[in-house]
Symmetry: C2
Subunit: 108 residues, 2 copies
DNA sequence: CACCTACGTAAGTGACTGCCTACACTATCT
DNA sequence: AGATAGTGTAGGCAGTCACTTACGTAGGTG
């Protein structure tokens, strides 16, 4: 989870995840999408993503093909979903409180 | 979105968000939950969370009361949900591919 | 007014991060 | 075997981050 968040906080790494979420792509073709950054740098980003469990690596001859590993997102997703659920719970409580206020007004 | 992810990557900041997701808490009482870290450090964490839109601040006399601001999570949540949806789509495609393979076997 | 309480802010420091260039590795082809 | 293509790794550097101590500030209280 910590590793996933650290991996995802880098904008280029999020972009990489979006690139290979549809299908595989080689390290080289991924690097080609980032002209403002050197190829070794992209290679390092790929390693971070792979170590975090967000990328699957497959070797084909001299090339390495990457694709997004969706299972890696599970925990992080749950963290955000947790607060999303809270939001609904808070709204519910607020609505009930409001209802009680109205009831009190009526009874007065 | 970038600010939200940067805020959330710090474990103590995630803990703070969990602390004040139920109700308000003062800066001091929040700091008391982190004995291994100085109070000014917690104060800085609170600022980061507030600037990212994840915390609501209310002043009461000399105290400051904080609570989680759920709307702040919307964008980040959508990012993770995006890949969660992809996961389902990929499973669907895989199932259909498998089905076609079986059909081909039958026709052979 | 003087003092205390509950905070935030400033400035400095060690550790980490993303980036670069140079180099090493591995599979394929001639 | 030697050469080439496609990538990862090593080492170094500038910028950023979390942390600390010292100080500033605003609202209550005697």
């Amino acid at each position: 989870m910590q590793a996933v968040l650290e991996a995802v906080v880098e904008p280029r790494r999020r972009e990489i995840l979006r690139l290979v979420r549809v299908g595989e792509a080689s390290a080289g073709s991924i690097a080609a999408h980032f002209p403002d950054v050197s190829r070794p740098t992209v290679s390092q980003h790929l390693r971070v993503l792979r170590d975090a469990g967000l990328l699957h690596e497959r070797r084909e001859g001299t090339r390495r093909l990457y694709r997004t590993r969706f299972e890696g997102f599970t925990e992080a997703r749950a963290f955000f979903e947790e607060f999303w659920d809270d939001r609904l719970a808070v709204l519910k409580v607020a609505a009930e409180t409001e209802q009680r206020r109205k009831d009190a007004d009526r009874d007065r």
